[in-house]
Every structure is written in structure tokens, then in C-alpha cells.
């Protein structure tokens, strides 16, 4: 577990980060959302001490980060930034091997780990390992960046706008992949973004920052349904709130028996997906069918518009 206690940074008398408190549970994703200049990147950089805190402490499993050697600390913490920051003069494989090499792993261990990481990120090690970063697409470079950050099995992963430079389609894929990989490795992730939709879809917990302060911290449902102040509410545009909320609820738990016509929806979709299909095809119920079992089987399980509307209501 990582504990952030009263962390502050002062530049020219101004508190760009003001007494930030936060706890990151092992194996969860926490997302810090805020506008630019809110201090979110500064907070992130104080954790691996790229920036030194003026007040407060960061504890990793109870140990103060200031008591660890600077390089040793950083080698325990993965780091991913928007411009991927890959070393342009090293191959993909050498990039991924950076931290294991610094930690003095044996050559066969490093080689095996690099293969494993590239395979995890769907990059054929024989094909992509020997390439140089300029020979990769933006999405591939970003995946290599994440693979490099995770290569040495770090205690946690810090990500600063990791998908900011990707186009929307690639970004959605990268987010899915991050979720999968995070579950697989049980990694503890702290991510910074200005995109509330990204935060809501990825975060187990969301911290909203404004003018250096953490103004609200909690699970996504709480941020959407009970914003602590007008600033948080403004981040989730008022008209969008019901859809944001529906997007957080899977339809699986709200299936009822019945029959419905037309194309089916998969049980792992969200209520927002269901509503969207109902509006588009003018139906008030959709058959729910697991695409893998029987796409054309007669449906007896459905999701209804009435339920969707009820679940989206403000509480």
C-alpha cells in the first residue's frame, strides 16, 4: 500500500500542491483528474521524487521514500509519460530491459522477461524486439513504454497522461489493454489525466484536483452521483451525468425474462450501450445473448428501457 500524507510543493510562495492526502491500495487503479495547472503532474512526480516535496511524506508499505536511495526508489516505481520517452538509440528490447539491467538481473532472466513483456503487449518479440522506436507507430511506442515501466515488477506504476497523444480508437484499445494487464500483474497504478471519461472508465478510485488541492476522492459512482462541489460537478457536464452513470453499470445484473426482436446485445455491455442501441433502433427492449454461445438463438433474456430509465435516476 502507498500512503501519501500532507504532501505539498511550493513554487515562489505558491502552493502548487497543497497538503495532498491519499491512499493507494495494492492492485488498484487510482486516477487523478484535474485541469492543467491543478498540480496533478507535480503530485505524481513527487512520488518517485523527480520533484522533491517541501512538506509531507510518501510511504511505500510503511517505509518513507526519503529513506530509500533515490535510484533504488525509482527502480521500484514504473513510470510512463505522454511522449513515451523511449530511448531513441536503443532497440525496443533494450528499452524494455532498462530497469532489469540497472538492477543487475542475469542476461537470460532479462531476455526471458523482455519476451514475456512484449508478448503481453501483443508485440511479436522477434519482429519488434530489434526495431528502433522511430520504426514504431504511436500506439506501439506507447505499449513499449508501458512494457518498459512494468518490466522489473515495480511496486507501483505512475502514468502521466499516458494516452494523451493517441487517437481515440487507439486510445480506447490502449485503455482496455491497460485494464487487462493491470489485472494480470496485480499492479498498483496511479494515473494522471485531464479526461474525466478516461478516469471514470479506468479508475477504481478517482481523485479530483483543483488549484493544488484534492477536492474529492472516491469511487467513480460517488464522483458522478455525489460531486463534492461545483467544480467536480462541472467536470462531469450536467447533461452527461445520467449517461456517465449508466456507463458505469453493467447490464448483466438487470436482465429480465421475456422476448425482444432485432439484434442482440452482449451481457458484458453497460446500460449506456443498451440505451444507445434502443434509441438508434427504436426498440424498448433488447435481447441479451452471449455472442460466443449462440448469436441467432431465440432470446429469452432481455433488458428493458423501463429498467434503464429507472437505474439512471438521480438518487
Amino acid at each position: 500500500m502507498i500512503e501519501i500524507k500532507g504532501l505539498s510543493k511550493i513554487y515562489n510562495g505558491e502552493r502548487v500542491v497543497d497538503h495532498a492526502d491519499m491512499q493507494l491500495e495494492t492492485g488498484t487503479i487510482t486516477v487523478i483528474v484535474g485541469t492543467s495547472g491543478s498540480g496533478k503532474s507535480t503530485l505524481l512526480r513527487m512520488i518517485n521524487r523527480l520533484i522533491d516535496a517541501d512538506e509531507g511524506t510518501v510511504l511505500i508499505d510503511g517505509q518513507d521514500t526519503r529513506d530509500m536511495g533515490l535510484d533504488a526508489l525509482r527502480r521500484r516505481i514504473g513510470y510512463v509519460i505522454q511522449d513515451h520517452g523511449l530511448f531513441p538509440h536503443w532497440t525496443v528490447a533494450r528499452n524494455v530491459a532498462t530497469v532489469p539491467k540497472l538492477l543487475g538481473w542475469s542476461a537470460p532472466d532479462i531476455k526471458a522477461r523482455v519476451r514475456e513483456m512484449l508478448e503481453t503487449f501483443q508485440l511479436d518479440p522477434d519482429r519488434y524486439g530489434p526495431r528502433f522506436p522511430h520504426e514504431l507507430s504511436g500506439g506501439q511506442a506507447q505499449r513499449v513504454g508501458v512494457a518498459r515501466a512494468l518490466a522489473a515488477r515495480p511496486d507501483m506504476l505512475l502514468m502521466d497522461e499516458p494516452f494523451g497523444a493517441l487517437d481515440p480508437v487507439i486510445r480506447a484499445q490502449a485503455q482496455d489493454e491497460l485494464r487487462t494487464v493491470q489485472k494480470q500483474f496485480g499492479a498498483t497504478v496511479l494515473m494522471v489525466t485531464h479526461d474525466m471519461a478516461e478516469a471514470l472508465s479506468l479508475g477504481d478510485k478517482i481523485a479530483v484536483m483543483n488549484a493544488g488541492k484534492i477536492v474529492q476522492i472516491g469511487p467513480p459512482e460517488e464522483i458522478v452521483t455525489r460531486p463534492a462541489n461545483p467544480f467536480v460537478r462541472s467536470l462531469i457536464a450536467a447533461t452527461d451525468r445520467p449517461f456517465r452513470r449508466l456507463a458505469l453499470i453493467g447490464l448483466e445484473d438487470h436482465i429480465v425474462s421475456g422476448t425482444a426482436q432485432g439484434p442482440a446485445i452482449a451481457p458484458d455491455a453497460s446500460l449506456a450501450d443498451a440505451l444507445s442501441q434502443m434509441i438508434w433502433s427504436g426498440r424498448d427492449a433488447l435481447p441479451v445473448v452471449d455472442a460466443q454461445t449462440a448469436p441467432d438463438a431465440p432470446a429469452h433474456k432481455i433488458i428493458t428501457l423501463r429498467d434503464v430509465l429507472r437505474l439512471g435516476q438521480a438518487q
Partner: protein, 383 residues
């Protein structure tokens, strides 16, 4: 008829000076090494064979007017250059007995012009061929090796420059050593001082401006004045510091020239080091810190490798500049190829000036080629 589109522009425009070369004297014959030359034409030298040689030469030039593939042009241009050198050497051999033993035979304006035209055609063809870096280097080495072999074979022994070389063979190689020591050694010392200064300037904004002003100021001092200025402080050191004279430091000679070259080399070394290091992408720099590379690992594993192309470009500038400037060092007794140039100037002996100039140019050219290759090779991996 030859289609207009099939005409090569450079070949067309070089055809005319190439033809004019036939009307200019082929060789100059002098009764002594400083006498005025007596012009000789190709036909005077070779009789009827001279007309044959002229006709073949014109035919080859005409071939260049037509669009040929670069490979053909390189081959043909190379053959033409070699043939011109051989014909000039043969001509000198035929003319030399007339003025033996003190006379000299040197290439005339026509021979020089023809060689320049052929050289341009060949170099242009090489550029069009776009050989990979290592091939370029190999070609440069082959040309140098060819010229050396030709000189060693004795085929050119009757040309005045080669006569001058044979007369001074021993001092030629000792001056060559002095020249290389002066140019390379001062570069080495400038790197020892300049690399840390450049590193410092890259990291600290405060030092950058003043340092650049001082070094730019040094660079603006005219070279002859700089060499002269060095005499005073080093003369003082030689007279007053015990042991300084014993290790070869004196007001004139190698030491002041060496120091002057070091001072000239500092600006390009420092500014290229600084520019190279500052061009490392900020994201890469931050990633290196965040991965836990310490300052030394960042410098050696990330910053220097990424700055290397710019550093090598700086080295190229400095070395080529030093090889040229080292010539001036002879003025204050430092030796080097400049010694021949200044002796030649003093005696109005053109052959002696050429004996100092040609190896200097060749040395600078080969050094530039070598470093260009190194830059190209280390840029290939990353952009």
C-alpha cells in the same frame, strides 16, 4: 539526332572548358626550378600521338554530354582522371631530357584544366550514385591509395612536384608528422578542455553566455596575429618556469602554435558539445531519470550517445580547421606542411608551395570523409 531530354546539363556545360583545355599549354618546361616556363602543346610533346590522345579525350567528354547512368559516368570519369594523370606523367618524362639536369617539367594550364573538368565530372557522378557511407569512405581510401601507388611506381617521377618531393623526401615525412601532431594533438587537448566546458554550459544557463562570448572573441583573432601573440607568454614561461624549456616549451616552435590551435578549436568543441547535449529530447531525459539511471549512467548511456552525431560534426569542423590552420604554424617555426609553403613563397618556387598544399588538402579531405562516415553511421540507428 540526340533528343534534347537526353542531354546532360553538367556534361554539356563542362564540355566547353574541357575543350578549351586542348587549346591551352599541355606542359610548362623550365630551365631551372624558378625560371619562367616555356609552354608545350600536346602535339609538341607526343607528336601525332598527341592528336590521337586529344581526339579520345574529346570523345569521352562528348559521352558525358549524353545522359548515361551514374555507374557508367563514375567508371568513365575515373578512367579519364587516371588517364590524364598518366599522360601528364608520360609527357613530363618525354620533355625532361631537353632541360636536364636542372630543368623542370610541370603540368600546364591545359593539363590542370582538363584534370579539374574530369575530377568534377567524376565527383558529380559519385554524388548521383549516392553510395552508402562506408562505400564513400572506401572510394576515398582507394583514390588515396591509387595516387600513392602511382607516385611510388616512379611513373610520375619527372613531374616537378614529384622531383621536389624526392629532393625533400626525408623532411617531407617529418613535416607530415609535425603537421599531424599539431592538428590532431591540439584537437585532443581542445577536447579534454572543451568537452567538460560544453557539458557545464549545457547544464548551467549562467555560464553559457559569458563562455560563448570569450570563445567567440578568441575565434575572431586573425590567425597570423594569434600565432604571433602566443610567442610572448610562452617565451616568458620558457625563461621563467624551471623545466619548461627541457620539455620543449619555447617562445617559438611547436608550443605556441599548438596553444593557438587549441584556442581556435575550443569554440567549435564547446558549442557542439553544448548543442548536442541540449538537443536530447526532454521526455527521454525525464524517462532516464525516472527509470533510476544515475547522473553518470544518464551521461554515458543516454546523453552522450544521443549527442554523438553533433559531437562528431564538431570534431569534423575542428579537425578540418586545424589541418588548414596548422599550415600557418610554420611561420613561428612549428614545422608542418606550412614550412614548404612559406619556403616556396620566399623562393617563388611554385612546386614547393604545391608540395605543402596538396598533402594538406588531401589530409583535410580524408579527415572530413572519415568523420562524415562516422556521423552517417551513428545517425543511421536513430533520428
Amino acid at each position: 539526332m540526340i533528343n534534347r531530354a537526353r542531354i546532360d546539363r553538367l556534361g554539356f556545360w563542362l564540355f566547353w572548358p574541357g575543350m578549351a583545355a586542348l587549346l591551352l599549354p599541355f606542359a610548362g618546361v623550365r630551365r631551372s626550378r624558378i625560371a619562367l616556363p616555356d609552354a608545350q602543346s600536346l602535339s609538341n610533346t607526343f607528336g601525332n600521338w598527341g592528336y590521337v590522345a586529344g581526339a579520345v579525350y574529346l570523345a569521352v567528354l562528348l559521352a558525358f554530354v549524353v545522359r548515361l547512368s551514374p555507374v557508367w559516368r563514375v567508371g568513365l570519369g575515373g578512367l579519364l582522371c587516371v588517364a590524364l594523370v598518366l599522360v601528364t606523367g608520360r609527357g613530363a618524362h618525354l620533355l625532361a631530357p631537353d632541360v636536364a639536369p636542372y630543368g623542370r617539367v610541370s603540368p600546364g594550364a591545359g593539363a590542370w584544366l582538363a584534370l579539374a573538368v574530369a575530377g568534377l565530372l567524376w565527383a558529380d557522378a559519385m554524388v548521383r550514385l549516392r553510395p552508402p557511407p562506408l562505400w564513400r569512405l572506401a572510394t576515398g581510401g582507394a583514390v588515396l591509395g591509387g595516387v600513392c601507388t602511382l607516385i611510388a611506381s616512379g611513373y610520375l617521377d619527372d613531374l616537378s612536384v614529384i622531383v621536389e618531393y624526392h629532393n625533400r623526401a626525408r623532411s617531407f615525412w617529418s613535416e607530415a608528422r609535425a603537421h599531424i601532431l599539431l592538428a590532431l594533438g591540439s584537437f585532443g587537448v581542445a577536447c579534454l578542455i572543451g568537452l567538460p566546458l560544453g557539458l557545464w554550459a549545457a547544464k548551467s544557463r549562467a555560464i553559457r553566455g559569458p563562455l560563448a562570448s570569450v570563445l567567440t572573441g578568441l575565434q575572431t583573432i586573425p590567425s597570423i596575429a594569434m600565432f604571433g601573440l602566443m610567442i610572448v607568454p610562452l617565451g616568458w614561461v620558457a625563461a621563467n618556469v624551471p623545466g619548461a624549456g627541457a620539455i620543449g616549451i619555447s617562445g617559438i616552435g611547436m608550443a605556441p602554435a599548438f596553444l593557438a590551435l587549441v584556442l581556435y578549436a575550443l569554440l567549435p568543441v564547446v558549442s557542439n558539445t553544448e548543442a548536442g547535449l541540449r538537443a536530447v529530447p526532454p521526455a527521454t531525459e525525464e524517462a532516464a531519470r525516472a527509470m533510476g539511471l544515475n547522473a553518470r549512467q544518464r551521461l554515458w548511456q543516454v546523453e552522450i550517445p544521443l549527442a554523438l552525431p553533433v559531437l562528431l560534426t564538431g570534431a569534423r569542423i575542428v579537425l578540418v580547421q586545424n589541418i588548414g590552420l596548422a599550415t600557418v604554424g610554420a611561420l613561428i617555426g612549428a614545422g608542418g606542411f606550412g614550412a614548404f609553403v612559406f619556403q616556396g613563397l620566399g623562393q617563388s618556387a611554385v612546386d614547393l608551395i604545391l608540395l605543402g598544399t596538396i598533402p594538406t588538402v588531401a589530409l583535410a579531405f580524408m579527415t572530413a570523409l572519415l568523420l562524415d562516415t562516422a556521423v552517417a553511421l551513428c545517425r543511421k540507428d536513430h533520428r
